[in-house]
Amino acid sequence: MGLAKRIIPCLDVDNGRVVKGVQFVEIRDAGDPVEVARRYDEQGADEITFLDITASSDDRETMVHVVEQVASQVFIPLTVGGGIRKVEDIRRMLNAGADKVAINTAAVFNPEFVKEAADHFGSQCIVVAIDAKQVSDGDNPRWEIFTHGGRKPTGIDAIEWARKMADYGAGEILLTSMDRDGTKDGFDIKLTRSVSDAVNIPVIASGGVGSLEHLAAGVTEGHADAVLAASIFHFGEFTVAQAKALMAKMGIEIRNMAS
């Protein structure tokens, strides 16, 4: 009995279509976001995250419509990230039917924005997305925050940053290992556990899932409160239900679908 660990399929959306790139290079089309979201909902996804990877502001309008359509058919929490820079961007997404927004680059350049957003809308809908890359090895590895899809280092320590964002009012952290993203080698467990143990807000592990065992390891070894994956679900390799069956077998608390 207790709070269930969440499984969150992630949809990278480019100009209204779900796509999946491997380390931001190869882009494969994975379908219509509304259909994909509905399929995950039926499989028992606990939440759905949309990352808008569109560059132009015209196409952002498309994202608002996607969220609107999904929100009128899928009744589980929806998170939207990508291009969230102003209070107005948050309001638009919430009004379209999103429950949470993920703030990434804007938080790095202007941490006060996270405070402002949390004061305005409540911590419950402010997710801070952290893209981290390992910068030193050994017994005490260090990870740094990177921006621009993992290309630009910032010199900011990932664990200190996570603590700061929690202090600033983030309600949750979406932690992506840039080293693992798209590799299918599994989560960066050390990174996940270091961040999850350092903050008192929920942490979603992301980046690198290639098998169902990887998802479970994010929870058992990485101490994550939720696990996020994209490609293993998109191309029909595995279903969310299969992931849950495995996690339940391992003794992880999950939400079963009503029969």
Partner: protein, 215 residues
């Protein structure tokens, strides 16, 4: 055809509640409103809410909604969601102490940050976010068709302190036991978000639409 007024006081994602109600009751007239007459004329009222209780109570003052809200609480099927549950109690610790509506006796408190899981000692994070089980401790028309210990979606850092009283309709454990649902006469209120709780949540909203406000 029933009419549903969803109280709009400018906070949080109220549109989700609208969409979910429209989904379960396509023929219902659903209005997002802070107009007193609309609230008076509606057959039933939903008081949703996210964010901070202080802002919620201030917004009720700003729109001059106290009186009409009390009228609705007295006479028609009324569903409180999240802050809409917390606001019904005497007071909340949030915002350095906030006086609430005092419809139900009790206090709203902040989850301690030092709670750990009994089995593995792992820290329990705050906000309490995700799907947790609700133990139905009294039968009620709004629980119809919903399994005992069904999971619903929660997201909150403050909780209604559990005390043994007739109005408690459901409880949830998260480091401590808290009131997840309350019921009295024509009032039902829940800490979780039925509009985001998939099948079980939609069932609860459907039950509310079909409820005549009596037990």
């Amino acid at each position: 055809m029933t009419s549903v007024a969803i109280l709009d006081y400018g906070m949080g994602n109220l549109r989700s509640v609208c969409k979910a109600v429209e989904h379960v009751a396509p023929s219902a007239k659903v209005q997002l409103t802070h107009d007193a007459d609309c609230l008076r004329q509606a057959d039933r009222v939903i008081f949703p809410g996210q964010g901070a209780i202080t802002g919620c109570i201030q917004a009720l003052d700003k729109y001059n909604l106290h009186k009409v809200l009390l009228e609705c609480l007295n006479e028609k099927p009324f569903l409180g969601i999240c802050l809409g549950l917390q606001a019904l109690y005497d007071e909340s610790e949030e915002g350095g102490g906030t006086t609430c509506l005092g419809i139900l006796p009790g206090k709203v408190k902040k989850f301690p940050t030092s709670m750990t899981e009994s089995e593995n000692g792992q820290v329990l994070k705050v906000p309490h976010m995700g799907w947790n089980q609700v133990c139905q401790i009294q039968s009620h028309p709004l629980w119809q068709g919903i399994n005992q210990d069904e999971r619903f979606y929660f997201v909150h850092s403050y909780y209604v302190e559990y005390t043994e009283q007739a109005s408690v309709a459901g409880t949830t454990d998260y480091g401590l036991k808290f009131t997840a649902a309350a019921a009295r006469d024509n009032i039902f209120a829940v800490q979780f978000h039925p509009e985001k709780s998939q099948h079980a949540g939609l069932q609860l909203l459907k039950n509310f639409i079909n409820w005549n406000g009596r037990l």
